[in-house]
Each structure stands twice: as C-alpha cells, then as structure tokens.
Symmetry: C2
Subunit: 458 residues, 2 copies
C-alpha cells in the first residue's frame, strides 16, 4: 500500500503518481498489469479522476502503456542507466494582426504581461545597482543565470549550474550562436520532419547540410536517424512542433544512447513545455542525460514576452571552452536593464506565479475552445493534437474544398495557420490558436470559423 496523505500540500494524484513511478522504476516489472482505475480508487478511497490523472501522467511520460479495453501495463523504459527527474514547468506567443479573427497558434494576450510588476522592478533595479558605464559579463549577468539555473533544476529537471548558461537575445540568436560555435565539429544537422522552420533555417544559413528525419507517434524515428549522416540533431521532445507529440521516455533514452555512441549532440528545444493541461509538464530530456550530450534551449518569448528578447542555452560543460574562446564570450547579448529586471522578477517569485497564472488562464481557454469546436463542427472534424500549448490542431474528416475554405477565410478576415506551410513534410493540420483571444471572445471567433468551415464541406 502507498501512503497517500490528504493533509499534505502535494495533491493526491501527484502523490499517487510519485509512488507508482517509484515502484515501476525499482521493480522493473515490465509488462505487469496495473490495477484498474476503479480498483485503486476504492482501495485508497480517492476519486477516479485522481487515479486517472496519475495514470495519464505516467502514460505521457512513457512509464506505462495503455492497451484498449485491457488496461495499463508497465512499459519497458530502459531507465536502468538513467536517473529520472520528477519536477517540472514554459509556453508560446506573437504578432499584431490586422485580421478580425487571428488564430495565431502561439499568441499570449498583451494583457498577460505583468506590466506593473515589470515597471516596478525595472525602477528598483536601476535604483539599486546598475552601472551603465561598464561592460557586462559576456555570458549574461551571474545573478540572472543563477535564477534560471535554479528554475531549470527544480521545475524542468535540467541538471546544470549557472556556469553553463548563456543568455541570448531570442531562440534564433541562441541557435545561431550554437551553429557558429560547433560548425567545425559537425556538418550535418538532423531536423525533425515536420519541424520548426526557424531551427532549420538558422543551421542552413550557417552552411550545415540538413537531414530531415521523420517524426512518428513516439517522436523522431530512430532508424531514419541512424541511416542519416546527422550527429547533431534538433528535437522538441516535450511537445513536438507542430504535431504536439510527447516523446516517450523509451524513445528519449534510445536517442540519447545512440547520440552518445556516435559522439554527437542533441539540441533540446523545450518548447511549450509549461503549458500542459492534462498532465504535469514532462521533465526535460536533458535531465535524463548522463552523458552530457544535450544542449538545452529555453526562451522567455513564449511564456513572458517575445518583445523582451531574452532566451538562454544550457551548454554541456565540455562545450564551455569552445564558447569561452570565441569572441562571443566577451560581449553580452542583452541589455543590463532587461537582465536585471528579469533577475528580480524571478528572484521575487513573480516568474513562477506568472507561469501558474498563464497556465490557468490558457487551460480554461483551451477547454472552452475545444468544446466550442466540438459543438460547432460536430462530426465533420477530428482533433489531431490538443491538451497543451496555445493551439488545438484539427483536420476535416469529410470531403473538403480547401481552396474555397482559404478564400472564404481571407474574405471574412479570418487568419488561419497550416502546419505544412511552415514545417514541411507530409503532416497537415489547421493550427487553431486560442491564446490571442479573451475567454469570452472565443465563441464569436469559433462561430465565424464554423461558418466558413461548413461552407467548405463538399
């Protein structure tokens, strides 16, 4: 029997999840069936929802498999050589719009930025400590790097200290710096297909040969990876861009082992990991890595503001000398005011509060949006990906006139986003972003969308 305690601050489903995971990791009883949800719920006198939450978290992380109508089984997770981190939290956002309804898939509301706090902390930072007359630490201010490392340790399961963190001015800047640093070590860049076009372009422009590697249900396909020339790969394991797939623990470990065996590196873009609505966020791949083979990429653009231009990269320690001997190590990439304000923002707890806040807000929007889509589009559509981030991916399940659809959208001033247009590959879906709307604006937006949708059914 596990000890579940209602009086603890930790929610019951997390206590249950932790206990089950510990069991699975220690006993390694691969294939063993787990008790049914009903059974556990009556055994511990807890609700079925509580058990379901625990199970779906374990499932999302790859510790258990689900077989339709049979139940849940302990998965073969190859974790022996790996240690597993538990804790976790990140997000996405963009562009002003001239459209009446803009379903931009990565949009936070302007109002979600903590403007008053930011302003107060800027003034505090300036009054307290800023020296505008001096050059700064090229890697980023130590105080900020310490805050980021402690956040990453505790909430994303990333193993690092401040010395490994480099503050950059956005995801593309981080990627560009990395592409430059290791251009004499690697020539081929393994890219998820479909995948995030910005990552591809950055490495293309630095002269890397791009190897497209298909993403399947488990994440990047290992066979295709092995048959490619790529030793350096880019993946979005927490929440694959754009399909929303979470890479299973099994797959994560296999890829780590492979990359280690060929002396390569994995660039982990921990894109949107904070905004998970059904499960707790999946810990980072970097946290599983005992070989120091993962370069971790994070950004504040998606969850705080794209206008601040702050991102960071966590380098494995053996890559630090390479960085330190480049001229980049001498020149900071972000203004002292932004760095210091962000440092205070994190140190005083606003960052975690902000993350909780936007998760709560966007979870409500997500659920309401999903219900609205179901009510309006009914049996003419399928949901391709949901439950995380700022978009729900859908496709029609009926004969559909795409040309008509797109032209009607233009006519009605509805801005739509299609997976294929930006990510390449075969995967197609309409990426319906909800983050840019207020909760009570969603209904009108979905109605307008539904209107052109139904007119496009053949």
């Amino acid at each position: 029997m596990y000890k579940l305690d209602n009086a603890l601050k930790i929610p019951l489903h997390i206590q249950l999840y932790d206990a089950l995971k510990k069991d699975i990791v220690q006993k390694q009883t691969v294939g063993e069936k787990l008790p049914s949800i009903r059974k556990l719920s009556s055994l511990y006198n807890i609700s079925k929802t509580t058990v379901e939450s625990a199970y779906s978290q374990l499932y999302a992380e790859g510790f258990i498999d689900s077989q339709p109508k049979k139940g849940y089984f302990v998965a073969d997770i190859l974790y022996e050589k790996q240690h597993v981190h538990n804790n976790t939290k990140s997000t996405q956002q963009q562009k002003k719009s001239s459209y009446k309804y803009d379903f931009f898939p990565a949009q936070l509301r302007k109002e979600d930025f903590p403007l008053k706090t930011w302003k107060r902390l800027f003034n505090k930072a300036v009054d307290e400590s800023l020296d505008f007359g001096s050059y700064l630490n090229g890697q980023g201010e130590l105080g900020l790097r310490e805050e980021i490392s402690s956040y990453l340790n505790s909430l994303r399961g990333v193993q690092c200290d401040a010395s490994q963190i480099i503050i950059c001015s956005g995801f593309s800047d981080s990627m560009g710096l990395l592409a430059k640093l290791i251009q004499n070590k690697y020539t081929h860049f393994g890219m998820e297909e479909p995948g995030y076009h910005v990552a591809r372009r950055v490495f293309e422009e630095y002269g890397y040969a791009i190897e497209s590697i298909k993403v399947a249900k488990e994440g990047m396909q290992l066979d295709t990876l092995k048959s490619s020339k790529a030793k350096l790969i880019y993946i979005t394991p927490s929440h694959h861009y754009p399909t929303g797939v979470t890479m299973s623990i099994k797959q994560r470990i296999k890829i780590l082992e492979y990359i280690h065996s060929i002396d390569g590196y994995i660039i982990e873009d921990d894109y949107d990991s904070e905004l998970a609505y059904y499960n707790r966020p999946i810990p980072s791949l970097q946290g599983l890595d005992n070989y120091a083979r993962v370069i971790y990429m994070g950004t504040f653009a998606k969850s705080l503001s794209p206008a601040l231009r702050v991102s960071y990269m966590v380098l494995p320690k053996q890559l630090l000398p390479l960085y330190k001997k480049s001229y980049d190590a001498h020149f900071p990439r972000v203004s002292i005011t932004t760095q210091k304000t962000l440092e205070l923002f994190m140190r005083e707890g606003h960052w975690e509060r902000h993350l909780r806040r936007i998760r709560t807000i966007n979870k409500k929007k997500h659920n309401h949006f999903k219900a609205l889509l179901q009510n309006n589009l009914k049996n003419t559509f399928e949901i391709v990906a949901e439950g995380a981030g700022l978009a729900i991916l859908i496709n029609p399940t009926v004969a559909f006139d795409w040309k008509q659809f797109k032209s009607l959208a233009e006519k009605e001033s509805i801005k739509l986003y299609f997976a294929k247009e930006r990510s390449g590959g075969e995967f197609e879906a309409i990426r319906m972003g909800f983050g840019g709307f207020l909760l009570d604006e969603l209904e009108e937006a979905v109605k307008a969308f539904s209107n052109i949708w139904h007119k496009s059914i053949c």
Copy 2:
C-alpha cells in the same frame, strides 16, 4: 574677403573654415599657399587662435597640407566627383577595475550616464505604447531607426534613411551579422594593421582569410591594399584605432574609387568620431561615397553606455535584399524597452545634449591630463596621439626598462594598456586613458604613474 560675423551663432573659426573650404573646393587651386595665420588674423581682426582652429580643421580633413616653416597649401583632394558634407558628431568606454589607477583607454564615468532621464523615459515608453505581447520589427523599431538616421544625416554626414538601418546588440553583433550575410560574396577581409582586434576576430571566426594592411600617416596604405586579395575592408577613418590617425579626404576618395572598381565594400567603423577636441568631428566616409560601397557601423556603447547593448549598421540599399532573405530579418536583437527608451531619448534632444556634455567634460580632462603628463614626464616622453577620444598615446624618448615598468605598475596597482598587445602589428604606444577618472582625480593618478615611469628610465 570673406564675411565673418561676430553676431552669428556660428563661431568665427567655423565661419572662416566654411569660407576657406568653399574657396578651395570651387577654385581647386592645388598647391596654392594660404595666407599666414598672422596675416589672416590682422586682416579680419580676429584672434590667431581662431585662424589656427580653422586651419587645423581643414588640415585634419585633408583640404590643406602643412609644410614645416613654409605654411599651409591647398591640397590635391580629388573631390570633383564627390560631394562633401560639413556637419558632424560618437565616443568609447569599459570594465570595472580592481586596480587603484586604471588607465583604461575607453572608459566613460558611470556618472556620465543620464540615469534620471533614462528612467523617466523608460517609464514614459512603457506607459505610452509598449506591447510586450507582440513580436517586433526584426530590423529594429521604425521610430528608433528614424531617429538614428536623422542623427547620422545631420551630424555625421551619413547618407541614409531608416530602411537601411539595422539595430544590433553591440559592435561585435553588427559585425557578426554582416560577416554572415556576405560570407558567400567575399572570402578575404582586409584589416587595418594595427587595428581593432574585435573586428579581426569576428571575421576570422566566420572563416574569412585576414589580409593585414598597414596603416600609415594617411590611413590605410593603398598599394598594400591593391596587392592584397581583400575586396572587403574594415577601416576607422575618423580616428584610427589605435593610432588616432584621421584619414585624409584624398585617401578616402582613393580608397572609395579602388573599392568601387573591384566591386568590393568598405566597412566604416565610425569609432570615437564624436570626441574630437581640437577640430570639429570629421564627417563620415560614407557621406563621400557616391557608389554605395560603404557599410557604416555605429554604436551607443562608447558614448552612452556599453551596458545597454545597442549598436547599428547602415547597409547600402543593394545589400538590403540579402539581409531581408536571411532569418535575421525576422528577429529583433534588442529588447523593446531599450529600443523605445532610446527612441524617446533621441527624439527629445537628450542624445545631442549628452554628446555635447561628454565632449565638454572629456575635453577638459584631456587638456588637464596632457598638461599633467608634460609637467611630470617632462622631456622623457613623446605624445604619439592626442586631441580625440578618451586616451592620449605616449612613448618614452629615453632608454627605458619596459620589464621593470610593467612589474612596478602591477606592484603599485596601476593598470596600463599597450597598443601592440591588442592591435597587432609593429605600432607600440602606452594608451593612457583618462575618461575613467574625475577631473580632480587625474593629478594623483598621473603622479603615481610618473613615479613608476621615472624608476623605469635606464
């Protein structure tokens, strides 16, 4: 006779300078002797200093030559095909120090940063207009680019509009972006020798072959340039780093003609152009260029704050498409808050006031520092470069024990900077920075320096 008017707001020496220059440009009487200083001063009933100022400005800009004991002569300036800009204004700064006396050659005082104004304008910018929820213009905010272009037009004689300006996060960032953009067009990078090590390193790291081209009295040597493979060159014409040489107009035009003829580009780093104490600042080389062959580099690090991380680059229009198709064009490099605050700072006139202020402050320091050096070192030293920037370059003229000198400096906690260490080449000088001291701190610092100096004379 020229019309000089004491009642005008324009100082008499500038009126005289303008009149003489107009004459020279129109009449092109190459080799003609100018009236002696004494003669002009009595003719117009103005002080000799006024005439001297006008002459030294013309000399610095290459309109007249000086022959010892013979006087001044109209120079052959090849200006026919060129138009000449008159107006002008930039600066340098760095690092905290653990030394008792730190003669860092590019240091502004912390107190010189307009902290109160900056804070007020930040708050104003945030209150007025900022949208933290949106991605910005990748090239930089239009408003800021307009302010910079109008400053460059009127005070640096740069011919450009806002569409040509790209906001970057520091000189090395600007240079890195450029190196990346044109790496498929050029393979060899012509570098001043001695020259600014950062420029060299950036292009080295981007894989360019470096061609070192000697700098002589006139600036970069054309013959060496012509015999090199470099089509892309980096120069500091206003105030050569580190020798302080101003490139003559003649030389500027010759280099422009040559670079144009080989389909190359000149990177003009307008380093320290604002801090000229004897002459008005020399207009930019870019302003002379009718072929759109100059890429102009500017920064706020040297004159406002290195901690803000803002620089800019002015691209010739034909290079804009290259920039626009790179991913860089999509991602801004500087935070919205810094951009907007700087925009207000410039729009409301604070920038020009600030430049005047630091010029006045540093001119006083420069003159006092020079006098102190002369009083203390007497006939044991020569001044290699002075009259601009934040350092006076000196060398001993007597037998000198350099080893002893450097070890005494360490012992007495005096931080010194040597030209050769950072710039390569044969040129050596002690770069005595005065900007980091308050006016009344200079005497003590020079005394401490003089003390170890005299102990090092053999």
